[in-house]
Symmetry: C2
Subunit: 424 residues, 2 copies
Amino acid sequence: MKIYRYPERKTWPELVKRPVFEREEISGLIAEIFETVEKDGDEALIQFNKKFDQALTPQITVSETELDNAADEISEDLKKAIQQAKENISKFHAAQIAETEKIETTKGVICWRENRAVEKVGIYIPGGTAPLFSTVLMLAVPAQLAGCREIILCTPPDSNGNINPAILYTAKLCGITQVFKTGGAQAVAAMALGTESIPKVYKIFGPGNQYVVAAKEFAQRYGVAIDMPAGPSEVLVIADRQAVPEFCAADLLSQAEHGSDSQVVFITDDFKIFTSTMEAVEKQVKKLPRNDMACKALDHSLFILTDSIEKALDFSNLYAPEHLILALEDFETYIPAIGNAGSVFLGNYSCESAGDYASGTNHTLPTNAYARNYSGVSMDSFVKKITFQHLSKEGLKKIGKTIEIMAEAEGLIAHKNAVSIRLK
Amino acid sequence: MKIYRYPERKTWPELVKRPVFEREEISGLIAEIFETVEKDGDEALIQFNKKFDQALTPQITVSETELDNAADEISEDLKKAIQQAKENISKFHAAQIAETEKIETTKGVICWRENRAVEKVGIYIPGGTAPLFSTVLMLAVPAQLAGCREIILCTPPDSNGNINPAILYTAKLCGITQVFKTGGAQAVAAMALGTESIPKVYKIFGPGNQYVVAAKEFAQRYGVAIDMPAGPSEVLVIADRQAVPEFCAADLLSQAEHGSDSQVVFITDDFKIFTSTMEAVEKQVKKLPRNDMACKALDHSLFILTDSIEKALDFSNLYAPEHLILALEDFETYIPAIGNAGSVFLGNYSCESAGDYASGTNHTLPTNAYARNYSGVSMDSFVKKITFQHLSKEGLKKIGKTIEIMAEAEGLIAHKNAVSIRLK
């Protein structure tokens, strides 16, 4: 833990800095993988599965049988949990679909926006230690609500060539159209370029390691969009004297266990809470199965004692955390002061894991200070908002002169003519 | 003109292809410019002005006096036109600010979203032949409505070191906080990195040549967001027998005059409209001052005769045009069939130039087939939507088991603990 007592404002820019990753190193490798996938298609993916995942996958497409069987391989409790989470996520996201309001900006000039789903989207779900079926929910539920026609999912197989059944069960539940056994940069390449089995998509979503992140960045050269730039996960907790140190510690640790590069920040104006929370962290971390990773993350965590909650919020806005927890008595007072954050958790009972799984909000959020300029994933991420306009002849008459004068002043005479010829 | 009569569907993917630009060539130059701006700050910009614009600009910041004097240097008519346009753009964009609706996803679990302005935004306006003060309106009006705290503008000076007064007048009118005399990739670098005079911004907007486009792409490495990827401007017009060939021709030409790389597509199911529109284009183009550019754009334009409007719309969705004009009698019938487009103009009196200047819709739109996965600029572009949640103890009890089960199944025990410790 890095401990700071009343750090001066001029030191803050140094404190909010995130680790910098060298991308150049792997960019050659990524380009090579894209080339191989472009050239060899499915066969490339089969070979990559052999090489990287020690898996034999003659078919990279998950079969209907595999999808159907998944439900039998997980507990009833887990199925119910996934269903409750899905229900809440659906409720929250469905409410984000804005009505189409027609605006008559000038008499006879009617303008509006309509949503259209991104037709083809691809979801990447990492393999490895944690089967992130919760991320399937977070991406597939809004995709389906938005009306995306094709929602495909790529995830690496285990060494037996299988996909975790909780991922398959959730995929089927959420209307994923096809699941493919492929991971890493090659999965991203496949979704960006298309192969015999995998359709080329228009937008790629989902988390991953540095290769996946680099591949998503690279994929944009092919006209594909991505959900957002990525970085290690973060939480910033602001606590006052009524906070519960054990709760704060548990929240800090649920961030720390994500990985050794997780960013954990704690700020309080109360000395007792400051010390008790650090103690509670030390105590709780020992019992965690992912203790190793959590300890590494804690090594570079920040524990800051401040003289006011206002200052804590100023620091938080500069930091722009992915997750912000306000363990404050009068949290409502401070909401307007929040400028930069991905998702905010209010009060002592709003733990980050509620938003990670089941409250209904999305857990795909901007990290790495991107909360200054990006929103988390929402229904907006799965639609385009197309503007429409209808001008009657009267309407064009009313704004025609304005258009003609402006077009002429910009030297664009054909733009002017398009009006003049209609009003002649 | 490239003429296609009833082209088969299998030929469409070839027809919708856009020109490919080689970016690699200039990427070294862009990196160099960023380095120079990072090292020398304002002085670098002053030197670039000398080198690229033959302009002496000891001060790159536009003074208050320069801003104030601009109003006297343009006609009253132009001022009135700019004001009417601003009013319509304001009306349309203000209506896009969605209400905050709180959703109780489970009893005691309340989730909602709030908008927060991107604090610092930078607008780039190109110099050259056309002073694009209309783009100042399109970017500064929503930025101001969104509440962006800092809205700066960079644009290259003329050889006398001055900025076009229409740009300055519009900038002042729209609450731009500072204007700087710098253009090209170096202006983008300055906004991404900051200099003594120019503040570092969080998001960069605006059009430009290939150097500006490449610089905006490059700037993202520094954590800056951009409005959207860019490409040459486009229009696709679909006309039926009631369309007016002279109107269609004028619209096609108002696209063609933008530049020799402009993309112009005309589709009709009526042979007479097909030939008369081509004739009208030939006739009108001769009188244009930007005749040269327009003719070059027309050389690679597509004129397609089709056997149904439905098919025309299918083609349009595959093409994903920036601007789509439906010069159709029953245009309303076809609105639901529009899947991919930046902005749509309905009927014979909705010319593209209305949306370019004064109807109220935004003219910063996705080109280069990006209408498949991107929206045009709107209020959404200037805000982040932050999610909030408040769980009461009862609320956490109701979804606690679900969170615990899911967290455990993902192997994230600290996530589970954050709930268990609160419900103990």
